[in-house]
Each structure stands twice: as C-alpha cells, then as structure tokens.
Symmetry: C2
Subunit: 288 residues, 2 copies
Amino acid sequence: MINSVAIVGGTHGNETSGIQLVRNWMQNGIPSAFSSLNIRCFFANHAAMQANVRFLDEDLNRQFLPERLNSDSDAKEAILAKKINQELGPKGESNTDLVIDIHNTTSHMGATLIILATDDFHIQMARYVKQHMPEANILVEDEKPVPEHPYLCTIGRRGVMVEVGAQPQGVLREDVYQLTQTLTETLLAFCQAYNDGKTQNLPECEAFRLGVNIDFPMNEDGERKAMIHHQLQDADFVPLLPGQPIFRCFDGTDITWQGEDVTYPHFINEAAYHKLHVAFATASLVTL
Amino acid sequence: MINSVAIVGGTHGNETSGIQLVRNWMQNGIPSAFSSLNIRCFFANHAAMQANVRFLDEDLNRQFLPERLNSDSDAKEAILAKKINQELGPKGESNTDLVIDIHNTTSHMGATLIILATDDFHIQMARYVKQHMPEANILVEDEKPVPEHPYLCTIGRRGVMVEVGAQPQGVLREDVYQLTQTLTETLLAFCQAYNDGKTQNLPECEAFRLGVNIDFPMNEDGERKAMIHHQLQDADFVPLLPGQPIFRCFDGTDITWQGEDVTYPHFINEAAYHKLHVAFATASLVTL
C-alpha cells in the first residue's frame, strides 16, 4: 500500500516548475481527488532556491549514498542531505512510501517519468502513466540496484523523478508547468488505483532504458570542438539512426552517429551537464 | 569612417553564443571578407565565463556610467569595467569606432540588433541589416542620450548589441549560434559598405522602440501570483492587442493586456530578469 507520499520541489534551486507546483499546493491544498493519500509537500534546498542556482556547494541530488550520508563533509548540500534523510527517509528504512521528486530540464524531453526499478510496482506505474497520459515518456534507470543511486528520491521506500522540459533554468513556462502538474497528479491517481488493486491488468507500454552518456568532442586545450547538430537539437527520444548527424563542428564539418543500432537520445544539450561536457544520453527501447 | 571594430563576447559569462563566436574567430581568424576593417575580438568577463554565470558580483553591462567608472566600489565587475573602459574606450573619447557586444536571451527574440540612437549612421545600419537579413529585428533604445546608458557597448565611439534567442543560459544552440554569426557578419559588411558610401539610399525599415517593463503580478508576500500565459510565451515581437491574455494566474484565472493600443512584447520570460520580476518589455512599431 502507498499511504504516505512526499512531493519534493527545489532539489535543484533553479528548477522552477516543481518549486511552483509545491508552493501552490502548500498554499492552496492538494486537489481533493487525492484525499485518500497522506501527502506531504516539501522544499528540498531553500538556500539554492533563494539564490536561484542549482546548488550552492555540491549537487544535492548526488548526496544520498551511505558514504555521503555518513561523511563529515561540510559542503552545504552534504549537511542538508543528512537532514532531509532524517525527514523523509532514512534511506533503507523509510516511513515515506513514495517520494516524487520534481525536476525540469533544458532538453526537449516533454513530461518524463524516471523510474529506477522494473519490479511489479514500477511496471504498473509506467503502464498507468502511459495509459492516462500517452504523451509522457518513461525513462528507466535500472542499471544498478535502487539503493546504489545517489538520488534524493531513493530515501523513500520507493522513489521516482518527474523530469519535464524544455525549460531554461530560472524560468517558469506555462506549458512545462502544466505537464509537470498533470504527470504528478497522474502519479497520485496511480497510487490510489494501486491501493484499490486496479492496476494489475494494464496493457504493456514502451519505455526507454538509459544507455551511456555521449560527450562533446574536445580539443587538446579542453575546449569543445563542436555543438549539438541542429537536426539533433530538440529531438529527445526521437530515433537516432547510424549515420545521422549529431555534432556540427566549428570547422564546418559534421560528426555522425556511429552506433551500430538505432538509439533514443535524451538530455540533449542539458545546461546542468555543461561542466561535464555531456552532450546527450542514449537509450534503448524496451517494453514494460 | 568605421576603421576599428571590437567584437565582444562574455559580457555575461553564461551567454555562450557570443563567447563561442569570439573564440572561434580568435582561433581561426576573422572571415577574410572583412579584411578592410581593423577588428579586435575581446572577452569581457573571463571569471564569469569560467564560473558559467552572468556575473560574479554585479551586472557588468550596467557599469559603464561615469559615476560607476569613477567609484571606488570593490565589486569584481566594477573593477573590471574600469579596465575594459581603458582597453576599448574610454567612454566619451574612445579610439574604437564601433563596439559590437554579443548577447543571448531565453526569450524567443530571434536575431535582434539593439541600437541606442537613431542618427543617420544607425538608421543606415538598421536599414542595411533589414535588407540583408530580413528575419532580424531592430530594437531601438533611444529614450535617453547614448552616454547615459550603462551598457558596455557605449564606451566605443559607437556601440550596438546583438541579442539572439531563445537559448538557455549556459547552453549553445546551433540555430542561435548561426543567427549570431550571420547578424554579426552583416554588421561588419555594413561597416565596409558604409565606408564605401554605399548605404545612403537604402529603403526605410520597420523597428521596435522600447516602451516600458511589465512586472509579474505579486502577492503580499512578494511571491508571483501568475506565470506568462502560454499564448504570450515565445511570441516576442508579435503584436499584442488589448484584451489578449498575458498572465495565467495560479488560481486559474487569466490577466489580459490592458494597454490602449497594440504593443510589441519582447524579452518575454527572460531568465536574467528573474529577480527583478520583469515579465516582458513593451515596444511600439516605428519606421526608420
């Protein structure tokens, strides 16, 4: 049973759509349709929200591993993570049945649900979301056991992320806000349907399983030699075939996709991965 | 005559398209078509570029007024402005004939040339740009004398800004990069044509004259009550008529444009104006 749900905004302080949804529900109440659930609205990183930045010292959404939670780091987000872990967790023995952590991206990923496992619960959730919100994407990051992920949402008994784009950091777009609200409400509706035993016979759905990160090509001085090709820009989750252009180099040449198979790129040109020089991530199409 | 031209990137450290164009031209040379001009490529705020932020202490593009340039402020950008004023200025007695300062915006403004005066020179420039790049917009900010503007470009004998969007901060989009390069090259081609006396009989063109800033509606706690309406989002320079929606409030109601006349909104939902709560700027249509 899913009784207690935490809805988290502001894990990254400049991702405004989740922050605004949580603020609105804090001030005006959760929609009455979900009154059978015990829902807590929660702001994760007030200081980063105030500063309108992703984080102050370190990425909060990479702190929730035992070695970080037990470290004596004085990074602001390391200290904050311990506090949040007590409030919504603790990881591994949480009283929160489901943590829904809301993010947005500069990539054109639409409304994307990120799940970290493909057990019965998450398969039912994915199928329910695709049935009720067909335009949503399901992204599966199950390359390792859930507890080994460093994400905030892993401190709940279960945890998922809502990721919506394209939206610049520090900007609130109505289209992104509405998609964020619709996907979050769909997840709450799923929880109620799951509790009522109504989610066991849903039709299979398609999802994208995370592959690897593809970096920008760099020169000897550590500078980028290319930008995302205009044919790839904004084409998140669109099939990318071998031979199709992925980078436009500053010398005017193009670099094409050299994979052996089709892939499904996403997080294309995400601003937050700027310093890492990650250009996009790959994915394979799977059936849940 | 326009002999010496400075092309500036990185006045705001997270506006990547101008930074990349300047870097590419520094490394590979200016296109040979412009060899009659003495062109200097210049990075304004290395520290902000390194940190991938707009500025460290204060907005560099608001520092170039006598009271700031003569102040003893220890803000990093106040100190930097004095240095840049010596290199490209000094303001009021500059050896640089034209400063082209390149910016980008999260607003959907396409390729926009911002001019600060409507004398013969700038009218010829605007007409030349519209003739050679019809998709470009001309934005006129001549509400006060040029020297009273705080912008970096005002330290040249003449100065203009290139402003291209939509592009998230810290992201380089190929479409925005290409528009930035095309507009900048068009300005250099204009300088050569102007020097050759070939720009005096160009047809009139339309431009937008800056009006006022419109703020987001706020509640008593200083929080926004609304977001940009989806019909206004991305509609920069599209005529906005009285009665058309501009804000979608979080209570579900809409706020409409109450001006007496049509206006031409721009800088709609610009991330950099987040803390100022500026929703957009108005403009009137003028003929140059």
